[in-house]
Every structure is written in C-alpha cells, then in structure tokens.
C-alpha cells in the first residue's frame, strides 16, 4: 500500500538531519523527543511549509512539489503549537477558514464548533480567548478541511484533561476511518498507547515502530535521560 506520508532524507541545516520515514494510511503516530530535537521542524517539512532543500516529501506517493497549493489545503492540515492572533476575527470565521481550499462553502463548520466545544465561543473575537480555547479553534479549523493527512504540533499541550482526551479520541476516529495522523507530544505515557511512535533525538530520527518495542528503558534513558518503571498510576477516561 502507498504510504500516506513519505519523507526521505529530509535535511534542514541545524535543525533536522537526514530524516526518513513512511506512515501508512490509518496510522495514528506520536512524535516524541526532547525539546529542540526537531519535532516541530519535521512536522513543518511534512506539511510542506518548510521546504527541505535536500530530500523529498510525498503525500500518497506524490511529490509535494507537484501538488498545487490549493489542493494541498484539501489533502493535509497542519496545526501549529500556538498561534498569535492579531486581529479580532470571530471564532466561527476562523474555523470557517478551514474551507478556503473548498471554495469557502462553510461545510461542517457548525458541526466542528459543536465537536470542539466552541459553540458558546462562536462569536467571540479570537484574540481574546485563552490558550486552550485557541488550541481548540486551530484544531477545529484543521478538522473542517476534511484533509486525510493531519499534522498536529503539540495539540494537547494547552488543553485540560477532558478536552485532551476528546482530541485523542477524535484522532483515533480519524485514523480508523482511513486517515493518517502524526502529532507531537511530551507525555510518554500517552505515547505508549498509540499505534506508532516516532522518536527524534538531536535532529535525527532515532527510532520508529510500536511503542512497546521502541520505548525501551535503554532508549528512554539515552534520549530523554529518564529512568522508567511500570507502576499502577492515575489513569483518565471520558465518562
């Protein structure tokens, strides 16, 4: 099967170095690594926002350079770690921007507002809401693009536990329906329950595979400098 996302030997001097990976359709992959290991850069390269002078990025086996800009907006959605909104667009109008590449047809906007718990904020200016609310607006905007390839940069960082679980569940639903999701996160316990983890270390791809095989105590000590232990702990679920 053609991978949904292929990156081959992508290099951005000083940031990432010769990173290659392939993700099949239906995969929900977590991207982990210490601060400064190149996670955000890798996501930007995958999204085609940061062109890698050396190396190639393919979506569904098609080189990014051959996909017209507008079509890219329909095939992949990238969500930044945080956004600074200068102007007071309403939450609803920002979410509706996700339909730009579909001719601004506003399809799915109301449904997304409900799903991301934004209905009560729909008419608030986006430069006057909290960080977690902003994060949900960005995710909702990515959601309405209906793009099969999702690239989220630390989507859970600003969210409370309930909203974080809802976002994970949504990602799970997306990949079960055949979509592909690559997202960065710092919570290794969360990463442990995903299909695939990608480990970045000092700009290089250190490992990729099933969490149980990849996140070994030896690797965690080497990459993150932490000792690991499996213990009973607080676990959270939606009611």
């Amino acid at each position: 099967m053609t991978p949904a996302l292929t990156i081959s030997r992508a290099t951005i001097p000083g940031r990432i170095d010769g990173v290659s990976l392939a993700l099949a359709p239906g995969v929900m992959a977590g991207l982990v690594g210490p601060n400064g290991s190149g996670k955000s850069t890798l996501l930007q390269v995958a999204a085609g926002i940061l062109p890698a002078p050396a190396g190639a990025v393919l979506w569904n086996g098609q080189p990014l350079a051959r996909i017209p800009m507008l079509e890219r907006g329909r095939r992949a959605a990238w969500v930044p770690q945080d956004a600074r909104f200068e102007f007071g667009f309403t939450v609803r109008s920002v979410v509706a921007q996700g339909r730009y590449a579909h001719g601004d047809d506003n399809r799915g906007v109301d449904e997304a507002l409900a799903r991301f718990d934004l209905v009560s904020l729909a008419h608030r200016p986006v430069n006057r809401i909290s960080g977690g609310e902003r994060q949900r607006v960005l995710l909702a905007r990515a959601h309405v693009t209906a793009a099969p390839l999702l690239l989220w940069d630390e989507p859970l960082a600003a969210l409370d536990p309930r909203h974080a679980l809802e976002i994970l569940l949504l990602g799970n639903k997306h990949t079960r329906a055949g979509g592909t999701l690559l997202f960065s996160l710092h919570d290794l316990r969360m990463a442990y329950i995903l299909d695939t983890v990608v480990v970045m270390h000092e700009g290089r791809l250190r490992a990729i595979g099933k969490p149980a095989e990849v996140l070994t105590p030896a690797l965690l000590l080497e990459v993150f400098g932490v000792r690991t232990e499996i213990t009973p702990s607080l676990s959270l679920a939606l009611p």
Binding site: G48, I49, R72, G73, P80, A83, G88, Q97, G98
Partner: protein, 334 residues
C-alpha cells in the same frame, strides 16, 4: 470596547453605501468651498461647463484636480496601510511608521535635488517608487519572518531616521538653488496646493492598482492570522506576499510622488474601519479605499478652512488628527 458582533448587525452593502455617500458629499463640499465660495448649483454648472465661465475655470483648473489628487492619495495610503497590517500581522504597521513613505520622499527629494524633474514629469514618481522599494526591502530584511511587533516598529524607526537624513542632506547641500530648496520643502511637508491635471495623471494608476488589490481580500484574511497557517490551508503565500508587497509599495510611492509625505492615513483609516465593520478584508479593502479618500478630502477641507489665508498643509492636518488617535490606540491596546 466594541463587541465582536456589532458589525454583523449591518447588512453587507450598507457601510459601503454610507462611505460612498460621505465621499460624494465631501468631494462636492470641497468643490464648492474655497477663497471664492460657490453654490452647489454654480459648482454643477462649472463642472458641466454650462456657460458659467468663472465657475468653470475655478472648478476645472483649481479645485477638481486637487480633489481628485486628494481622493487618489487617500485611497492609496489607506489601502497600503491595510495591506501592510495584514502582511506583517501587526495593526500598527503603516507606510509612514515602517519608513516606506520616507523612502518615497527620499527618492523624490534626491531627484529634485539633482535637478532632473525639469527633464521629465515621470522622473519624480519613478524615483519615488524606487526609494519606496528600497525602504520596503530594508523593512523585510530587518524584520524577518517571525520577528515580533517591537522589532518591526524599531526597524521602521531606524529606517525613517536614515531616509530622513538622506532628505536632509540633499536639502542642506549648499549648491542648490532657492527654488529647488522650496520644492524639496514642499515634499517634506506634504501638500495638495496647486495640484494640476499632470498630478492627477501621475496619481491615476492608483485606481488600477486598487482594482488589482480587490480580489486578494479573502487571502489577506488567512495571511493576517499567520503565514504558515495560511499556506497549510491552501494559500500560495509566497505569491500572495509578493503581490501585496509590490502593490502596497507602489500605492505609497505614487501617493508620495504627487503629494509628498502625508502621515497617519494608512494607520488610522483601516483601524477606524476595523472597529466599525470588523476584520474581514473582503469588506475592508473596498471600504479602506473609499474611506481613505473621504478622510483626506475631509482633512484637506479642514486645512483650507481653518488654516487662515495660507491654509494648513494636508500633511500637517493628517498628523494633527492621526497623532492623537495613534496615541489613544497605543494606550487602549496596552
């Protein structure tokens, strides 16, 4: 504080109609009022060349070119400010604060100082455009992608000082004749006095560039919330940014070429409009063109009426109104 929703109370075309009526009324008033006041009926006679010779001469030789130049530069500066604000994601960006106007002025001053304006009328706008592009290039280089608001505005301060020094150098050059010095001073002050049809001709391309700006509104919405995000949503950001930069620089340069430095228009008109109708550029682009035209015509009228026999120059009036507004804005956003 305006609520987020106030603007959705207006049906879409209403603010545009109000702005058009306001502009028409101001333009008419500007044609009627002056050293010799004309009744609207006589103004119309003059405008249509219906036998009233004195009115015809006053309107066609003096007032109409002045009003047209005022409208064109107002539209240009206001739209240019709107574009820069979206481009830099900074509501304080404007041709004046970023030094683009100063670049156009320095170009114009240098060409006058060299005595080249006597050769061809086109040298002046060409030099102004060149100067403005040099300034724009400097701003882009100094305020790289992702640079914060402070850095952008500091770059503007530095540029304004440097380009101001260029103008001052030319002005203080002792070999210049008195006449050239006066001409240079005119540019530095910004004025609409004695504008002729030649000036209208030089400013006329503003209308063309404004039309090119029209369809970019929706993409400006996305760009104004982040370039990377806009690209991810399907906007060809590199192409859009190039178009916006070229258009806003040329608009500012043409305005500067015919009227010298006129400050604050690009800052306060888009701001006032955003407070009234919200941040959507599909509506802001046409309204800032019309609103900017109305604002400069109004400022010119104020300067002519309140400035005594000599009149207040347009650059002085816009700064006297725009300066306090800008300070209020800073205080409000602090």
């Amino acid at each position: 504080m305006p609520s987020a929703n106030t603007h959705s109370a207006f049906p879409r075309p209403v603010p545009l109609l109000i702005a058009l009526v306001l502009l028409a009324a101001l333009a008419l008033a500007s044609l009627c009022i002056g050293d010799m006041n004309l009744t609207p009926a006589r103004t119309l006679d003059g405008l249509l060349r219906r036998g009233d010779e004195l009115a015809t001469i006053v309107i066609w030789n003096m007032r109409l070119p002045r009003v047209l130049v005022a409208m064109l530069i107002g539209a240009a500066l206001s739209a240019s400010g709107l574009v820069m604000q979206a481009y830099f994601r900074n509501s304080l960006a404007s041709p004046g604060l970023l030094g683009v106007s100063a670049g156009g002025t320095a170009g114009a001053v240098a060409i006058i100082g060299a005595g080249l304006t006597t050769h061809s009328l086109l040298f002046l706008p060409a030099a102004s455009i060149l100067g403005a592009f040099v300034a724009t290039a400097c701003v882009i280089a100094l305020a790289r992608r992702g640079a914060g608001a402070e850095r952008l505005l500091l770059a503007g301060i530095a540029l304004n000082a440097m380009l101001g020094a260029v103008s001052s150098y030319v002005l203080s050059n002792a070999t210049l004749t008195y006449e050239r010095n006066a001409q240079i001073l005119f540019w530095l002050l910004g004025g609409l006095e004695d504008r002729t049809w030649e000036h209208v001709l030089v400013a006329a391309p503003i209308a063309l560039f404004a039309i090119l700006l029209w369809p970019l509104g929706r993409q400006m919405d996305l760009l104004s919330l982040g370039a990377d995000e806009a690209q991810s949503l399907g906007v060809d950001v590199r192409r859009l940014r190039r178009a916006l930069l070229v258009l806003s620089t040329i608009l500012t340069a043409l305005a500067t070429a015919v009227a010298g430095t006129v400050g604050f228009v690009g800052l306060i008109v888009p701001h006032m409009l955003r407070l009234i109708i919200g941040p959507e550029h599909r509506r802001l682009v046409p309204l800032s063109l019309i609103g900017g035209a109305a604002f400069v015509v109004a400022c010119d009228l104020i300067g002519r009426e309140l400035g005594g026999p000599a009149g207040l120059r347009i650059g002085i009036v816009t700064s006297l109104i725009g300066g306090p507004f800008f300070l209020w804005l800073l205080r409000r956003e602090a």
